[in-house]
């Protein structure tokens, strides 16, 4: 079909014609782009824990929804939005205190998840659901989900676009932004909302592990390499999409040479991200060495991140 013969060492037969693969590639790409964009701000603001916690917190919402027979996705989103609001209301700015607050919310949510899952299993005794809620699977997505997550993703990205400047300014200096009239708490809350939406849509479709991986990994890579915010965002999205597609391909191929049902997609994508992360580290170090020998100026002492 697509010159499959010449590509065959790389692409096992059926890759491009498989419907589940199409969905996986499309969904993965959308999730990667949204996660990459939101992830850059997440890393800048030192809120990786919140980003990861929301994928677990949403699980509680998903379990609750599952319990009452509603759509797990909506339960997930609703819980995440509420959790994000709570985190913002607690409103601690120092990173240590903020992570503690995130942890408390996470612990309480996990407790609720345990409760809901328990109620769920005694009422319908389907333990398979537990695994599904905790670890999504990119190859077993219900039809029509692409539209919903596209909307969620678009909303998240749109929010970031609108908040772009004040968010960046308040991430550099909360005080300065406040002095310039930025409604810093509103902006911070808006960002957490975008994060909640982004994590919801990615965790439900590609699983909690990949949600965090695509949120933090590509952004961390991009921030090591890019100098400007715009470039970093673009790079994060690109790296994310590449990791997703390459990982999906590897996972698909692995059904042939790994035996059994192949390697899980999540592992393959994470592996690609790690390889790229270490590569970016090498590149960044080479660059820094080259810069140090040319200028001889020492960078200023770094200060802890304190954001609103």
């Amino acid at each position: 079909m697509l010159g499959a013969a010449s590509w065959s060492p790389l692409f096992e037969p059926g890759f491009f014609s498989s419907e589940p693969v199409h969905v996986a590639l499309a969904v993965g790409a959308i999730a990667a782009i949204v996660s990459g964009i939101v992830g850059v701000f997440t890393v800048i603001r030192g809120q990786s824990f919140a980003g990861h916690a929301l994928s677990d917190i949403g699980t509680a919402g998903g379990s609750a929804a599952f319990l009452v027979g509603a759509s797990t996705l909506y339960g997930f989103v609703a819980f995440n939005v509420v959790a994000a609001a709570v985190m913002e209301l607690i409103g601690i700015r120092k990173p240590r205190g903020r992570d503690l607050a995130t942890g408390i919310v996470l612990g309480a949510s996990l407790g609720l998840a345990a409760l809901f899952l328990y109620e769920g299993t005694i009422s319908s005794s389907t333990t398979g659901a537990t695994v599904n809620v905790l670890f999504g699977s990119i190859f077993t997505l219900p039809p029509g989900i692409t539209t919903v997550i596209a909307v969620l993703g678009a909303a998240s990205v749109a929010l970031i676009a609108v908040l772009y400047r004040p968010l960046l300014l308040s991430s550099v200096s909360y005080e300065l932004a406040a002095a310039r009239g930025v409604p810093v708490r509103l902006v911070g809350a808006g960002y957490l909302l975008a994060l909640a939406l982004a994590v919801s849509m990615s965790a439900v479709t590609i699983g909690a592990i990949l949600s965090t991986a695509l949120l933090i990994g590509p952004a961390a890579i991009a921030l090591r390499l890019a100098i400007r915010t715009g470039v970093a965002i673009f790079l994060a999205a690109a790296v994310g999409v590449f990791a997703c597609w390459a990982g999906t391909l590897i996972a698909y191929d692995s059904t042939v040479w790994a035996g059994g049902n192949g390697w899980p997609v999540s592992f393959c994508i994470v592996a690609v991200i790690f390889v790229l992360y270490f590569a970016s580290g090498v590149v960044a170090r080479l660059r820094a060495d080259r810069r140090r020998t040319t200028t001889g100026e020492q960078p200023a002492v770094t200060t802890p991140v304190e954001v609103g």
């Binding site: 850059v40 890393v43 800048i44 676009a161 609108v162 908040l163 772009y164 400047r165 004040p166 960046l168 300014l169 991430s171 550099v172 200096s173 005080e175 300065l176 932004a177 406040a178 002095a179 310039r180 009239g181 930025v182 991009a222 921030l223 890019a226 100098i227 400007r228 915010t229 470039v231 970093a232 810069r291 100026e297 020492q298 960078p299 200023a300 002492v301 770094t302 200060t303 802890p304 991140v305 304190e306 954001v307």
Partner: protein, 265 residues
């Protein structure tokens, strides 16, 4: 340009500022001196409109301050400058222009020109393209000043800008600020805990101790009797080789014959 009248602030049950009054004229360089915890940052934040005082009034350029006063440029004490922050120096300055507005800036020639001009004025052109996390302390400070100046303020507030700088960088920053004040008629209020780097350029000084303030010219304020009155116990102002030292004297009775009498600079 700036008139502070009887401003008092109470936070958490503590009187942080107690009827502080002073004024600054355009083009004047005023140092806000005090040790840590004396209330310098609080006073700056009151002027910025971030804290409402429990008493008194602030007037900037003849009008009472509103939440976001475009007449005031601000250089805060700490900003997140670790190497992750993906901003070039010129990007940070650009944020000074419109960082408070929603959306993102489209590239435009006018914007670029404005940024270039201000970078030139502070002497930051050669590292305009570098990531701010990679700049030295003095370079970062220049960029922050540029960011504050680009919106053409009439009053520039700086919160401990010299704190982490080496002597040479501090002197360069002070000289830059003095030049800007003189050339552009901008009033400058700069807080510091050590007034010595500012002595050559300060037109007036506001000295804060325990929330109370003494203001006037350096000659008027930095003297043993004025500061002792301010602190409420004896402090000795000592001039050594062109530098000023304020020493908290041993309890009240220190007038032995050998004490050097305070001399006017």
């Amino acid at each position: 340009m700036l008139r502070v009248t009887d401003v008092s602030v109470s936070l958490g049950g503590r009187r942080v500022l107690d009827r502080v009054s002073f004024s600054i004229r355009p083009g004047e360089f005023c140092g806000l001196i005090g040790s840590n915890g004396a209330g310098k940052t609080t006073l700056l934040r009151v002027i910025l409109g971030l804290i409402a005082p429990s008493g008194g009034r602030i007037e900037v350029a003849g009008g009472t301050r509103s939440r976001r006063n475009p007449q005031i440029g601000y250089v805060p004490q700490k900003i997140a400058l670790d190497s992750d922050m993906p901003l070039r120096a010129r990007d940070l300055v650009g944020l000074g222009l419109d960082g408070n507005r929603f959306g993102f800036s489209l590239p435009s020639a006018t914007r670029r020109i404005a940024v270039d001009e201000i970078l030139e004025a502070v002497g930051a052109t050669e590292f305009a393209e570098a990531r701010i996390g990679n700049l030295s302390g003095g370079e970062q400070q220049r960029v922050m000043i540029a960011q504050a100046l680009i919106s053409r303020p009439k009053l520039l507030l700086l919160d401990e800008p010299l704190a982490n700088l080496d002597i040479r960088s501090a002197a360069e920053v002070v000289e830059l600020l003095a030049r800007i004040a003189a050339e552009q008629g901008i009033a400058i209020l700069l807080s510091a805990h050590d007034m010595n780097p500012l002595l050559p350029v300060m037109d007036r000084v506001v000295y804060l101790a325990d929330g109370r303030a003494a203001s006037g010219t350096t000659e008027q304020v930095v003297r043993t009797d004025t500061l002792s009155r301010l602190y409420g116990h004896h402090v000795e102002v000592i001039h050594v080789q062109g530098r000023v030292l304020v020493v908290s004297g041993a309890e009240h009775q220190a007038h032995h014959g050998h004490d050097p009498s305070p001399r006017e600079p």
